[in-house]
């Protein structure tokens, strides 16, 4: 077992891979695109985007909901399955948590970019001001700010706390003075003494117990952002669980999609085995069925209410100008994952890649369908309008993928990609 652990440590300490550098070059270029697009946005204002009345929520909100949904995958895997004491979690939890941290970071920037006057974002805090004003505590949009603040902070701390024993192991193993100092500072003086371990295990379990309900609350509140408005197609009690299901689906798809190249790039075949792909694919299939249930209930509530505006919006989804977006949602989120019923296909890397890319794309379409298709057809016919993203909308979308990838690549380069302490503990267990 020491050999496997040394290999993981050496990825962080000695890894010099052409594969890593070529991936980093692409990701870095996309990150520059994000920086450029953000600079132009701050200089010119939100007019560079496609948003206007009546569709005043566009790519920024779609991307925010998309990224925060993707972020959930790591929390579900590392917190929920820690509490359920599953053994397969060990080799994939670090990668999944790292994904969560950077996906949550991407999610966090979009509401601020969306503000129009982003330098006033601190008005969301209950900060003292000369007008003695308070934020609107009854608005789900403010709940969302608190939820994302708590979630991003907790995700970063959970990830870092989980990595402390591994950072300490790297400090002890590093041969260069610079690495010893750098890892030493981040390890905070963790030495594996019995008191440190005793408190460590207790606190780690507590973290997991907080993270599991926290991630459910975050996605419920994202659902309430929509359900709280009296907009056609949004005002539904179904939204909070619907958004939790959607988050789970896209989060698991992104974990699967990342495991494939990382396993190849860092040569982790011993640790990430077909069993992991099998388990995660089953979970993906299950969450796809949950999302399917939500879609069915969505259709049911439209017809059961019989509200003319609800019916009109739903019919434009089915066969209006944007019908392909709706049908892409059904095909990619509901029909494509059904291939995973086959045990042979669940461990086929090529098929897993197709299904997970399909689901990630399908979930983006779902949010596009929710945001845009409802806003462009309100119950007031004179207020109907249209929407399409501009070049700068797409630049920010792809730029955020660059931010995500750069963060992820740096993290897998400098922090052990598999929790060495957990692997060791699993091997010591009787």
């Amino acid at each position: 077992m020491s050999a496997v652990i040394d290999k993981v440590a050496d990825i962080a300490l000695r890894h010099r891979s052409g594969r890593w550098w070529s991936a980093f070059a692409v990701a870095g270029a996309l990150l520059l695109l994000l920086v450029g697009a953000t600079g132009w946005l701050f200089y010119r204002g939100v007019g560079v985007w496609g948003i206007d009345w009546p569709v005043s929520w566009g790519f920024a909100i779609i991307n925010y909901v998309w990224w925060i949904g993707i972020a959930s995958g790591g929390t579900f895997i590392s917190a929920l399955f820690f509490l359920m004491e599953t053994d397969w979690r060990t080799s994939v939890s670090r990668i999944a948590e790292t994904m969560t941290v950077f996906a949550a970071a991407c999610a966090g920037i979009f509401p601020i970019l969306h503000l129009g006057r982003p330098w006033l974002f601190y008005w969301l805090f209950p900060a003292r001001n000369t007008m003695t004003l308070w934020p609107q505590f009854r608005s789900p949009l403010l709940w969302d700010f608190f939820a994302v603040l708590a979630y991003v902070t907790a995700s970063i701390l959970f990830w870092y706390f989980g990595a402390i024993p591994d950072l300490a192991a790297l400090r002890d193993r590093a041969s260069s003075r610079r690495r010893q100092i750098a890892y030493g500072i981040f390890a905070l003086g963790f030495r594996g003494s019995d008191t440190q371990w005793r408190h460590y295990r207790a606190v780690y379990g507590t973290f997991a117990a907080i993270m599991a309900p926290l991630v459910v609350s975050v996605h419920s509140i994202v659902g309430l952002d929509f359900a709280g408005a009296s907009t056609v197609g949004w005002h539904s009690t179904e939204f909070p669980p619907f958004f939790v299901f959607g988050a789970l689906l896209s989060g698991l798809a992104m974990v699967l999609l990342l495991l494939l190249p990382l396993r190849w790039m860092l040569k982790l075949d011993e640790l990430i085995t077909p069993r992991h792909f099998d388990v995660l694919s089953r979970l993906l299939l299950m969450s796809s069925l949950l999302v399917g249930y939500a879609y069915v209930m969505d259709v049911f509530s439209v017809y059961y209410s019989g509200d003319p505006a609800e019916l009109a919006v739903f019919h434009t989804k089915l066969h209006g100008a944007y019908a392909p977006v709706y049908w892409a949602t059904i095909v990619f989120n509901l029909l494509l994952p059904q291939l995973l019923w086959s045990a042979r296909l669940r461990v086929n890397p090529f098929l897993i890649a197709i299904v997970s890319v399909g689901v990630i794309y399908g979930m983006w379409c779902e949010r596009y369908s929710i945001v845009v298709l409802s806003l462009r057809r309100s119950d007031l016919v004179s207020a109907w309008g249209n929407y399409h993203g501009t070049l700068w909308d797409y630049a920010l979308l792809f730029g955020s993928i660059g931010l995500f990838s750069v963060g992820l690549l740096l993290a897998v380069r400098y922090v052990p990609v598999v929790s060495m302490a957990d692997v060791r503990e699993a091997s010591e267990a009787p």
Partner: protein
């Protein structure tokens, strides 16, 4: 010298030495790659975290009640000012935030971390502590205690025995 340190090849070897030292009431400290089987439980931190979470949620709830009922009350069509269900999500999130911050910082506090340097780091055995070294240290200024510990370590065939410098 401020103590003596021994490295064992296995958890069993370390546990044997530990029980021998404990039988003689010597102050033994272990440094191991994984928690020892008998070291689980017995931490007050989860309760402290729970208390911080509950207090944080209460404070978050109180802040909202204060803001809408005392600091800036508004009559919105005669609706009740104390609309408590709408205060629950933020109360929960503030509670969770307080709990995770308390979890992290109370862990540092009880272990007196960050502690980037300790004289025991001078021992070569500590470089293996989180890999596959099973380290046991008797940290004492008393040279008689150190000699008795050294005898036990020699008898149990420790892989390495080192003095901890001051």
């Amino acid at each position: 010298m401020t103590g003596i340190l021994a490295q064992f090849d296995s958890q069993d070897g370390l546990l044997r030495a530990l029980s021998r030292l404990r039988a003689q009431h010597m102050p033994a400290q272990t440094y191991t790659p994984v928690p020892l089987p008998d070291s689980t439980g017995g931490s007050p931190l989860p309760l402290i975290v729970l208390a911080a979470g509950v207090l944080g949620a209460a404070a978050g709830f109180g802040m909202q009640v204060y803001a809408v009922m005392v600091a800036y009350p508004q009559d919105i069509g005669g609706r009740p000012a104390f609309s408590w269900p709408s205060f629950v999500p933020i109360a929960f999130e503030v509670g969770a935030l307080c709990a995770v911050l308390t979890a992290f910082f109370s862990f540092l506090l009880v272990n007196r971390l960050p502690k980037l340097y300790d004289p025991i780091d001078e021992c070569l055995g500590m470089r293996q502590a989180l890999r596959d070294g099973w380290i046991i240290a008797v940290r004492t200024e008393d040279s008689d205690l150190r000699e008795r510990a050294r005898e036990i370590f020699l008898e149990l065939q420790a892989r390495r025995i080192e003095d901890i410098p001051s």
